[in-house]
Symmetry: C2
Subunit: 432 residues, 2 copies
């Protein structure tokens, strides 16, 4: 690569999509990345910058000459600039804002004034609106006379004289209808304005639930201030899912393969630390039964099975519950039914595995009573696992804590403690 | 509810979106659901049927009178009918197909002839295409003269005389341009045809990666056969994510809160059974050290900590790897770097927790050597966890097994076995 010359590199890059170029930059190491950036400077543009992972984006902005970055940013639409700068440090943000034309700079600053992760940050400010009393012909003539229409728009939004959106017409309907037909006749019933302060996660939910393609954004006075399109909602939905998956696995927020070792270590440490506390709590339970174990070492061999089965059953139940909360399928109206269901599922699988492990324990150590202890502990722990798997995430959600983030630790604590306690306690009582 | 009369129920339901009505039906129990379906029969339509969870959909089709179902289905676009019937049993599928008009029936049957989860199942067959040599005026006149345009279309696809798509124009550009401008001048560079046999998961990836709004679908001869729009891709993306989350947690495929207890128990059993085998393997390792534990019961108290920390570190690494594989961020070109990174992260966190647990073990049991054993075992297991967390999913992917489905069991087996073996083995060697 070091010997590849500029022209050849540009020849390779030219036909590629910015997203693929960004992926390629993410996959090489830092030294190679810098060489490529320097050599292929002329191909580098704002879109590639937008597509890069956050950490690499900061690296690239720092590394590249200021004029290359400025030029790259000036090509972007304002909502992409907002997305680009909102996570940057103050000085980097300033430098980029300074590179923008005045009008764009104001637009970006206004967007940044809205709360983080709100509809206001997500929306584009380029709106295509028409008075509600217009007909198709007037609307098309108006569109033809615009100097510049937004890159992305799928509806013409109808507004009243106070700029309040009252409906919208798809471009398909507009193109298919005769010129004299009034807009009101073509109006869509999927119309759902979004408030500018609404969290972006609710926006993504609305797009997914109601199959929206675009939605007008209104301020506190119900006045039209922007538009959100489905591609932005899709990015948010994708991020929310990614976040949920990583949080459920105890990997911090934003993470990517191009993060450095030290950063990755730091994001993973806290969850491992929480798990250590959980594990120590479980050990304290075991410590209560040291005398029992000393008399009967087979207990030490079998006890991890009970705890592990409980942990897994709990993870199953909590994952389903966390997803159901996220998709608003689990509400107060069906909570009791779901709790009953999880308890019954825990009982059913508990009985199945009690049978299996009862026989295994009996045959392995030749003691029917050991099998019985294992079986009873298994039923108890799987029922508790089901209950904890639903009650913990629901309680966390009620307390305003993200259930995806913290449920795992709590549920595992419960199943470890109950598992060891039930198994060793019963053993002490029934075997000795 | 039993006393609520039909008129009142319909009054409540009328303004609700089909998706919300379906959610409501999912949240009540079976008896209430049947009462509502019977009372509000006139509000019930194809869209509600489309929005219902799979299991409830089958229940509703079985329960409702045939003529209500037939009428509901006839209202739907053919791609929604495909989505509705593809998972139904043969007799239910037949009954619904029979209710369709001939042309629709043929369209649905053609779609069902494509492989499951392929672009052919996902696409709509209603296409808006124009010869590539047309100008804006010709295209708009053509659209105005159509009897019926598809509900959803965002581009006019340009085709050559052999019906091969050569580009597309957004409706926004079409509306903003003067009548005499040729379509070729307005052509978008995001144009990416999709092959009809491509898996729907690749389709969703392409929409997400290249920010597509719609994409033409072509057959083996490159002829235009349909269109996929972003809302369909969003549904697939959502489902793929959901599937990954559930698979990572060891909850079978399709699952929902409205599945019955027996079904839920059955879907969760296999993974718990795999986990049982894992746990028994770990127990077999412990059994090798029964004599060591009998001499020194503190080992039984501390050993779950090492295994549990390894399991969690492994889950973190494997989740990141599984996601990176799904988003195509992890490829053969950066595999070695990622392996090195995971090993270093494991080493760094291993050393951190070795320090913590070394001190805890020393203080708790008053034996510095016990602390040392705990510390060394922790480093070993966290490094192995990082390695297994990346190597297991990558190997499964290479073997054609979904890494989200099976990685967890393998990684936990490795970390349990290594954790117990390292800790108890070192203890037997250093302490006795």
């Amino acid at each position: 690569l070091a010997t590849a010359d500029k022209a050849r590199l540009e020849e390779i890059f030219e036909p590629l999509h910015a997203a693929d170029l960004a992926d390629m930059l993410e996959q090489v190491d830092q030294r190679e990345r810098r060489e490529i950036l320097l050599l292929a400077r002329d191909v580098f543009d704002g879109e590639i910058l937008s597509e890069l992972d956050e950490s690499l984006r900061e690296e690239a902005i720092e590394f590249l000459p200021d004029d290359v970055v400025s030029e790259a940013v000036r090509e972007l639409e304002t909502d992409d600039v907002v997305d680009l700068v909102e996570d940057l440090d103050e000085p980097q943000q300033e430098a980029i804002l300074d590179a923008l034309e005045d009008a764009d700079r104001v637009a970006v600053e206004q967007a940044l004034a809205w709360p983080e992760e709100s509809a206001g940050r997500l929306m584009q400010r380029e709106i295509v609106a028409a008075p509600e009393h217009w007909n198709v012909g007037q609307t098309i003539d108006f569109l033809r006379n615009q100097d510049e229409l937004p890159e992305q728009f799928y509806h013409v939004i109808m507004v009243d004289p106070r700029l309040k959106p009252t409906g919208y017409v798809t471009l398909g309907k507009l193109l298919g209808a005769a010129r004299e037909i009034p807009l009101t006749e073509l109006c869509e019933d999927t119309f759902r304005p979004i408030r500018v302060t609404q969290p972006e996660e609710d926006v993504a939910y609305a797009f997914n639930q109601y199959h929206l393609i675009s939605a007008p954004v209104v301020d506190e006075d119900d006045r039209l201030v922007g538009v959100i399109t489905i591609d932005d909602a899709m990015v948010v939905l994708d991020e929310e899912h990614e976040e949920d998956i990583l949080r459920l696995a105890g990997v911090g927020e934003a993470t990517s393969l191009s993060d450095r070792v030290i950063e990755t270590t730091k994001t993973r440490f806290p969850w491992l630390f929480v798990n250590l506390i959980t594990a120590i709590l479980a050990s304290l339970v075991i410590a209560q039964f040291e005398a029992t174990i000393a008399q009967f070492v087979a207990l030490a061999v079998l006890m991890p099975i009970v705890a592990s089965m409980g942990g897994n059953a709990g993870t199953q139940a909590l994952t389903v519950a966390v997803r159901a909360l996220a998709t608003k399928d689990l509400t107060s109206s069906n909570l009791w039914r779901v709790i009953k269901r999880e308890t019954l599922v825990g009982l059913a699988n508990g009985l199945a595995f009690a049978l299996i492990m009862g026989v295994v324990g009996w045959i392995w150590f030749g003691q029917p009573m050991l099998g019985a202890v294992l079986a009873i502990a298994m039923v108890v722990n799987l029922v508790i696992a089901g209950l904890a798997g639903i009650l913990v995430p629901v309680s966390l959600e009620k307390l305003g804590v993200d259930p995806a983030l913290a449920s795992g630790a709590f549920v595992t604590t419960v199943t470890d403690v109950v598992g060891f306690f039930a198994f060793l306690g019963l053993a002490g009582w029934m075997l000795l």
